[in-house]
Amino acid sequence: MKKVLSVVLTGALAASFVMSACAAETIKIGGIGPTTGPAAIYGSNVKNAMEIAVEEVNAEGGDIQFELEFEDDQHDPEVSVNAYNHLKDWGMQILGGTVTTNPCLAVGAEAVSDNMLLLTPSASSQDVIDTGDNIFQVCFTDPNQGIASADYISNQELGTKIGVIYNSSDPYSTGILSNFLAEAAEVGLDVLDPQAFTDDNSTDLTTQVQACKDGGADLIFLPIYYTPASQILKAADDMNYDVKFFGVDGMDGILSLEGFDTSLAEGVMLLTPFVATATDDATVAFVKAYADKTGGDIPNQFAADGYDVVKALYKACTEAGVTEDMSPSDICEALKEVMTSDDFSYDGLTGSDMTWDASGAVSKAPHGLIIENGEYQPMD
């Protein structure tokens, strides 16, 4: 027994020597998002996924190793800036965050003045990338989603009268809405007066559904997250309102909502870059890793975006030859050049062949999906 132990120990010692001989570069990645408070679900998903991705990167044993620290911001710009400063003290070299839009705007300005590369998984507002040329997104911008949705509905002639229910206290939702309305006017969709709710007033959404019903809508556009969407689906079902629903990427997660009767989601259409039930190898492996890590949870699109943040950064860092002694600003310049170059593209969970332009917006194709028999099916 002793012998075995000593052999193992010697082996480990030798291995560690070999490892250090490789002189892998350890880059410090920061992450910021809400892991407490009402928006905690989004931050926790990104945090878990980023941790999984970092473990994978480090297990590959390439020249670049990542060290991740993820900080809570409670979905509050003030706390988010505090978290950013905390990470700076820790020695962060690249920021993979923040998760939500308003905090990202505040942190973005700090990142611009430090020239720190910021790749946000999910802060989707156009204003986020407009803050500076060192800010990049993995998610679609809101205008992109709003316009794509209006075009899709119009091209496929999905509805004649369109109702809209949105969250007026959420920049994500209002951003998609205003672009949707503009594009809908352009392509001649008949859109009813949009119905709003706020975070404080999301307990009862039946009145909004009733208003759509009374207005005669045969399709309701839902630029919102899946939690309120699940309530809307139930309300429509309760009032025997037969209507089609069209969602955006925030709708993903509705099938894995614990306790939700998925039969209510039959026929719901959505444009999204990621679904957890996809059968490609990368998604299956990720969903499994996520479940193993969290004790059976199913990742939503935030998690997939978070995973892609780390993996895209890894690819960019490798190509740019980033080393651990580089300053955040030098890393930022190097990564900016690589990421916006014509021959850089990244295949991830949320899209294949993702490329970035100088504005920081990602280019990837959303999939039109429809829920049939409790599963996502491609929509044609």
Binding site: A40, I41, D204, T207, Q210, A211, D238, E258
Partner: protein, 293 residues
């Protein structure tokens, strides 16, 4: 007809507010404190019913009873640890501690049950009624919630007026010092009040989530605040006031969503509250108190 169906939706929301407000107002009436953690006890009750009934198919009545037991224990524990030591301290100190308890419950729930939302299955199996050729629906949840609120309100009023412990509660509410001199166990009465309030919170949680099924660690916060508003609206400390205040609040909220603005519904509700309080400074059914010198 459209107006009627909006009105019914308002009453349906209002009945939930009313049920929560009953617990609020009772604790306020006796203990003279705003228990900001009440909404979070509702959330705990909701999780209890979720784990027993929704996940493990325990019969709904048993599930609610179980949740009531858990919440009662929780309420008594909170009172013993966090509020009782502050008896005699400034009123504000208790208020702040209640807020601390509210944070504590929310964060514990997040650590224990994670932050991902759960979708609640209604504990009410009866379908409700449809009137006017299907143009007007009243859901089973709404009917049950209203009935339960009325029953609880009447039961509480009878309890307070007719039973010995109830009269002790009244005495404590009127004048704590004098009640103590009369040999009433003031601490016991206050503990009992919290126990009853928390048990009611469990019922409120189950019915709130049956109508509006999203359950997260912060589910109780906003309905809690709204119910607090409803209790003040009706005259805080008054049981029928809480009921009427709750119903009115729900109706105003939903009618302003339907006819004025969906975005500004909350602003309108609060504005109406301010106006009511200006006309009747102690709420709709609140007692007028004259301060003696």
């Amino acid at each position: 007809m459209q107006f009627l169906s909006y009105l019914v939706r308002g009453i349906s929301l209002g009945s939930v507010y009313a049920l929560i407000a009953l617990g609020y107002t009772m604790v306020y009436g006796i203990a003279k404190m705003l228990n900001f953690a009440h909404g979070d006890v509702i959330m705990v009750g909701g999780y209890m019913v979720f784990f027993t009934f929704c996940k493990n198919q325990v019969p709904p009545v048993l599930a609610v009873l179980f949740a009531m037991c858990v919440c009662t224990l929780l309420g008594i524990t909170i009172e013993k640890i966090a509020y009782k030591p502050l008896r005699g301290a400034p009123k504000l100190a208790v208020l702040i501690t209640a807020i601390g308890v509210s944070y504590f419950l929310q964060n514990s729930a997040m650590l224990l049950w994670k932050s991902d939302p759960k979708s609640f299955t209604s504990i009410v199996s009866f379908d409700g009624v449809t009137l006017f050729d299907g143009n007007l629906q009243i859901s089973g949840e709404t009917i049950v919630t209203i009935l339960v609120s009325v029953v609880i309100m009447i039961a509480l009023m009878l309890f307070v007026k007719k039973t010995k412990p109830g009269r002790a509660m009244q005495a404590v509410s009127e004048d704590r010092g004098a009640a103590l001199l009369m040999g009433i166990n003031v601490n016991g009465v206050i503990s009992m009040t919290f126990a009853i309030g928390s048990a009611l919170a469990a019922i409120a949680g189950a019915l709130l989530l049956s109508s509006y099924p999203t359950l997260t660690p912060t589910t109780g916060a906003m309905p809690g605040i709204k119910a607090f508003v409803a209790a003040v609206f009706g005259g805080i400390g008054s049981l029928p006031g809480a009921f009427i205040g709750g119903i009115l609040l729900g109706v105003i909220e939903n009618l302003s969503k339907a006819y004025i603005s969906t975005q500004l519904a909350d602003a309108i509700v609060f504005l109406v509250l301010i106006i009511v309080l200006l006309v009747k400074p102690t709420g709709l059914l609140g007692k007028k108190t004259t301060v003696k010198v």
